[in-house]
């Protein structure tokens, strides 16, 4: 399984990379939505899931979601927002834009695993 982590915080990228690696994912990361689009275009595969922060410079997570939703190359890329934006209105906005799931920071590794299970990317109890 492959994942792309998109977050402007290097600490958060490290935490998510560590969490996903422990679940068996191979991880690439990007510092904002624009960087993620560039990385995706240069990969010879489409990751199974993108974990996307909302508030980032250059291109935010919502714009990234809207962009990849309209691109048939990324039809199978699951989009998981991972953000401090916790209001119901923001969750609805992200899901309406094309995000498949939503995880609020701060989170635990179990919460990440739960969301990946919902997305069909891992089975229960596979967190090592």
């Amino acid at each position: 399984m492959y994942a792309i982590v998109i977050d402007d915080s290097s600490a958060m990228r490290m935490i998510l990379r560590r969490t996903l690696s422990s679940m068996g994912f191979k991880v690439v990361d990007a510092v904002n939505g624009r960087d993620a689009l560039d990385k995706l275009a240069n990969l010879d595969y489409v990751p199974d899931v993108a974990l996307i922060d909302w508030n980032m410079p250059e291109m935010d997570g919502l714009t990234f979601v809207q962009t990849v939703r309209d691109d048939p190359r990324y039809r199978r890329l699951a989009l998981l927002m991972v953000t401090t934006e916790s209001e119901q209105s923001q969750i609805v906005r992200a899901l309406a834009a094309g995000a498949h799931e939503y995880l609020i920071k701060p989170f635990t590794p179990d919460a990440v695993a739960e969301k990946l299970e919902i997305l069909g990317l891992m089975t229960a109890g596979s967190l090592s």
Binding site: A11, M14, R18, T83, T84, E87
Partner: protein, 168 residues
Amino acid sequence: MTIESITPVLPSQEELAELAAEVWGSFLDDEIVVGLDAPDDSDQTMMVAWVSITGEWTGHLQVLTTPAGAQCIASAMFQMDAAEISPEEVADAFGEIANMVGGGVKGMVGVHTALSLPQVVLDSRALISPEAHQHSTVHAVWRGEPLQFALWERGPKTEWHNNAVGGM
């Protein structure tokens, strides 16, 4: 037809402490010790990280600690030895702490707002806004280093705060 305005509800000290504790529990796998009084840190250099919340309510969430405290935070988040952590990584990790606590505050306020990107400076005297006043402050200690979480509100004091819970 009348249009009712929604009143912002700001977190109490206890709720602010809970937000901070949740971040520590999730990302630092540890607990902070919340204190009653402000430590006598007038001689200490303090780093400050903050996010601004703007919109139908405007304010700032500020986190202060010593440079050693910020280095501990970065070391725990990156799971690296403190000596291996760069100043940029310290600022990044410390800023992310302010971002998460500030995001929690934003979610509680209950009116339409936007969250800024975090900012970090090595000078606690950097005043966020001369027009802002502190709504609530939580003092804590983690690994022997002082921590302060302060919620600032822009503009004059109003009556809509959730100050029912006190005692910290």
